[in-house]
């Protein structure tokens, strides 16, 4: 994901000239945090009437924190453009919590809401907001196939799962036992990845999926599940962690002395996973650029509200495949 949207880049430079200089940092001069690339730049013009944007996320987990970093950065960038970005915390990935928080945001009369699309169940509340002329930009997951949300940003989960499946097949030469540790059987994103990976693995006659368990995104439960899998299947070749807590699985593999013997495939290069990539316990980690998932929708919403053309309906991110060999290059900020 190195291609920063070049067209808007140009446009913003032009507007920068027309605006009163010195009051705002032009988009082109923004210094992104180490190792991050900005997929979109804000136009260089301050709003006259003031804009309120809500950026929602479940903040209490590493992935959420990475998204929050992007949202906070967007807040900083837009502060001198007369935009108030509120980063709002939702207490869980439960659809009902999201509906309530979205309702509260609608009541608070935000001009735009950037949100994680948790599940299809958000369709109605999203449509309601759109009907009230609020920009609804979703990231990471689609809030329902026929929702009226104007734009979506992120990596397709099923594609990510398929990518993971391919990586596994490659890593173990298409034969051996594989275990899957999934966050929750009832989170759609996790299920898309799990099923995506399975669709690839099940095509290989040499591969046998020996176990699928939930770890509720917790590293301790991943640790226990991994230990159980190793015990039950002495010939285990690979473990796929679909969601949170891969560090637990990595630690369990290390503690069992199976580093390298058992390949670990997981998602999201974060502080949690980086050391295990470095130590080669994690063989492949598929990153979905959470920083931009937090950052880009906010900037896009600002630009749209300022009269720029709306962003694409769907903005796919490429899967960034991090391996022990390339991780330091791709994510220097983590080392």
């Amino acid at each position: 994901g190195s291609g920063v949207a070049s067209s808007s880049d140009q446009g913003s430079k032009e507007t920068a000239k027309t605006s009163k200089s010195g009051e705002l940092t032009p988009g082109a001069e923004l210094v992104p945090p180490a190792g991050k690339e900005l997929r979109r730049l804000p136009i260089d013009e301050a709003s006259d009437k003031g804009i309120k944007i809500a950026a929602l996320m479940v903040q209490n987990n590493p992935f959420g924190k990475a998204v929050l970093n992007g949202q906070e950065y967007a807040k900083e960038v837009l502060a001198d453009r007369n935009v108030k970005v509120d980063t709002i915390s939702v207490d869980s990935f439960d659809a009902q919590s999201w509906t309530s928080t979205l309702e509260n945001c609608i009541a608070s009369q935000y001009d735009a809401i950037c949100f994680y699309g948790v599940s299809e169940a958000l369709t109605d509340v999203v449509n309601k907001a759109v009907d009230q002329k609020i920009l609804m930009y979703a990231f990471n997951t689609e809030p329902g196939l026929d929702s009226k949300r104007q734009a979506w940003f992120g990596l397709d989960d099923e594609a990510a799962g398929i990518e993971a499946g391919k990586q596994i097949v490659e890593l173990i030469d298409g034969k051996g036992d594989v275990g899957i540790i999934t966050g929750s059987f009832s989170v759609i994103g996790h299920e898309l990845r799990r099923n995506g990976a399975k669709s690839v693995l099940e095509k290989e006659s040499g591969i046998n999926i020996v176990s699928e368990v939930e770890n509720n995104d917790k590293s301790e439960e991943a640790y226990n599940a991994t230990t159980n899998m190793i015990t039950a299947n002495p010939d285990l070749k690979a473990i796929y962690v679909t969601a949170g807590g891969p560090s637990g699985a990595a630690k369990a593999i290390e503690d069992a002395g199976k580093t390298g013997e058992i390949k670990l495939i997981c998602h999201d290069v974060l502080e949690e996973t980086a050391p295990y990539l470095e130590s080669k316990t994690i063989s492949v980690c598929i990153d979905q650029d959470p920083f931009n998932q937090g950052y880009e929708p906010v900037i896009a919403a600002f630009n749209t509200l300022m009269g720029e053309p709306a962003p694409e309906d769907i903005n796919y991110y490429d899967a960034i495949v991090a391996t022990p060999d390339n991780v330091k290059e791709l994510f220097p900020e983590l080392f």
């Binding site: 479940v58 903040q59 209490n60 509120d86 980063t87 709002i88 915390s89 939702v90 207490d91 869980s92 439960d94 659809a95 009902q96 509906t99 309530s100 928080t101 309702e103 509260n104 945001c105 609608i106 009541a107 608070s108 009369q109 599940s119 299809e120 169940a121 958000l122 369709t123 109605d124 509340v125 309601k128 329902g144 929750s184 059987f185 009832s186 989170v187 759609i188 299920e191």
Partner: protein
């Protein structure tokens, strides 16, 4: 003489005030009002709008409905951890039916959802009252089993179904009033009347005071306890319908974690965990407090980490005022 009268007068005034403050629910209600006043000052433009008020009410409506059922269960000396699963399993079954079978009459879907809730409640109540298994274990088991069944039915993903008049219950409005708020209001009135003015309602309290004494007074203890659990199941399935309507789909994660919030609402509202006392009006206040706090957090854009800290403190403080007073008096 004159002095005495004044003294008596003051005492009487004090007495009424004291009596008012001696109920935990009243203290919590005052906390609630103070928070509202604070919010109206700090967020004048957004807080006291019709939209936001009904928004808070709508969000609290599920908690209120569930907390009243939970309060009755706690009053009998029990607990129900399975409400979230009952919501999920009944909603998923209903949506499955609506989605799979073409032209199934909506009324049948409605019945299936409600009956599923009642059945779960019946199993809970039966195991508690007839087999004598501790409610904590029974409903913990039901929590697990219900979630599993919901997952099986839904295959782990939300089940979307054709929009029918069922969806009216969840998302629609009559004027500015969300239908779920109306449903909540109707159920609240029924439940309060049931608990206070019917023989079965009073028998529930009697059982919570002393099961043996209730038995010796000719109360059908087992039947009443079962009824309370069935009622809880029914209320949970009504919430399932509201959620289904609101989301236009049924999700196996529906209601997960609700048990703690509803128990908290009941206890904050003055229901004693040891059973036998507490009022449904207090429970409503407790549930409103929880929802108001959540709404406040969003309106004030408080960071996620501080939300949990503030939530914890307010819960403890709102109950503490009353408890410390009582504790001091008892010595």
């Amino acid at each position: 003489m004159k002095e005495e009268t004044t003294e008596n007068g003051t005492q009487k005034g004090e007495g009424t005030l004291k009596k008012f403050f001696s109920r935990q629910e009243n203290v919590v209600a005052i906390v609630l009002v103070l928070l509202c006043i604070m919010m109206s000052i700090v967020r004048t433009e957004t807080f006291l709008t019709t939209a936001n008020v009904f928004n808070v009410l709508r969000q609290s409506s599920l908690y209120i409905i569930l907390a009243m059922g939970m309060a009755l269960i706690i009053i009998t000396g029990g607990i129900d951890l399975s409400i979230g699963s009952i919501i999920a399993v009944s909603a998923c079954l209903g949506a499955y039916l609506a989605q799979r079978i073409n032209n199934v009459p909506v009324i049948i879907v409605l019945c299936v959802v409600l009956l599923t809730g009642c059945l779960c409640g019946l199993i809970n109540g039966g195991l508690v009252a007839l087999a004598g298994i501790p409610p904590f274990i029974v409903t913990l088991g039901m929590l697990s089993v219900g979630k599993g069944v919901a997952l099986l039915v839904s295959n782990g993903a939300p089940i979307r179904y054709e929009k029918t008049w069922l969806s009216v219950f969840g998302g629609n409005y009559i004027g500015p009033v969300p239908i779920s708020v109306l449903v909540m209001a109707v159920i609240s009135v029924i439940m309060i009347v049931f608990a206070n003015c019917t023989i079965t309602g009073r028998n529930i309290y009697a059982i919570g005071n002393s099961e043996r004494a209730a038995k010796l007074s000719g109360i059908a203890v087992e039947r009443t306890v079962i009824l309370v659990y069935v009622l809880m199941g029914l209320l949970a399935s009504i919430c399932g319908i509201l959620l289904m309507g609101q989301m236009n789909s049924a999700d196996p994660t529906f209601g997960s974690g609700y048990e703690m919030d509803t128990i908290a609402a009941a206890v904050i509202g003055g229901v004693s965990m040891s059973g036998g006392e507490g009022r449904l009006s207090g429970t409503i206040v407790g549930a409103l407090l929880m929802s108001l706090l959540r709404n406040m957090f969003v309106l004030l854009a408080i960071s996620g980490y501080w939300q949990t800290i503030i939530l914890g403190c307010v819960i403890v403080l709102s109950v503490a005022i009353d408890c410390i007073g009582k504790k001091r008096k008892s010595r």
